[in-house]
Amino acid sequence: MSRRVRWLLGLYPREWRERYDEEFAALLEQRPPSVMDAVDIALGALDARLHPQLAEGMELRAANVPRTAVLTLLWAYAGFIVAGSGFRKVTEDGPFPGLMRDHAAPGLSFGAVVAGSVVALLAVLAGGVPIVLAALRRALAARRWRILGLFAVPPLALAVSVAYTLFLVRVVHPAAGRLGVHSPSTWRCFSLCREPSCSRG
């Protein structure tokens, strides 16, 4: 089995591989996957992860349709939050605040996007927390340590990010701590801190 085929098969969940691995690998060896096939396989793996019961001997239930719909909505909301938060951040500085003060239309539009992203965040929390808890319970029941390890990634990433920021502000460039959070000097400090010129002061 080629490394590429092995990697593509690895995208599928374990239960699915236990059932279909051998015949699927034989198919891919008989017809080496093109780039489009690789994309199709990646989508198939995503589908298998969204519908784990397909490989677990459980019957396909009508409940799968609302489940998929809920997950789609959740992703859509999450995307809107990212877009809304990004929009909010990029318009904090520069000419935009003045423009919003002087003209009603951009100000109202901006407010609508921000309010929408806050509502979306609440919706993601309301819809996502039960899904996360269900996945956590299932991983604990099945003793799937790898999945439990994945749950540790977001808090660890947050902790690393906070520690890195504190290190930058307090050790690498202590002057930034005395400046306003959104001042251009602070952002310049964060963006240049990895460059040799930064360490030279």
Binding site: E22, E23, A26, L27, R31, P33, M36, D37, G44
Partner: protein
Amino acid sequence: MGGDLSDLGRFSDPSLFILASLAGDERHGYAMMEDIEVMCGVRLGPGTLYGALARLERRGLIEPLPVEYRRRPYRLTAAGASALRERLASLESFAAAGLRRLEAT
């Protein structure tokens, strides 16, 4: 289990092609892909093929046979044949109605 393929979303058409392919004979995945390409002019991707196969198997419309040289053939069940017949009859009726309207214009 259900014979209705319309609620399979994006796997609805591939499922129909698979059932039609298996109506001729039992086949494994690669043979199905080749057969469908010849019969319908549609090239199914491997991920789509196995997504549809898993759904059809769970619904009892096809059944797996013992593995032969790492390849597992599948065959149509009685429920699968019935679902295929029903779907094809519906398509035939739709096609006939469309053609009648075209001829009337």
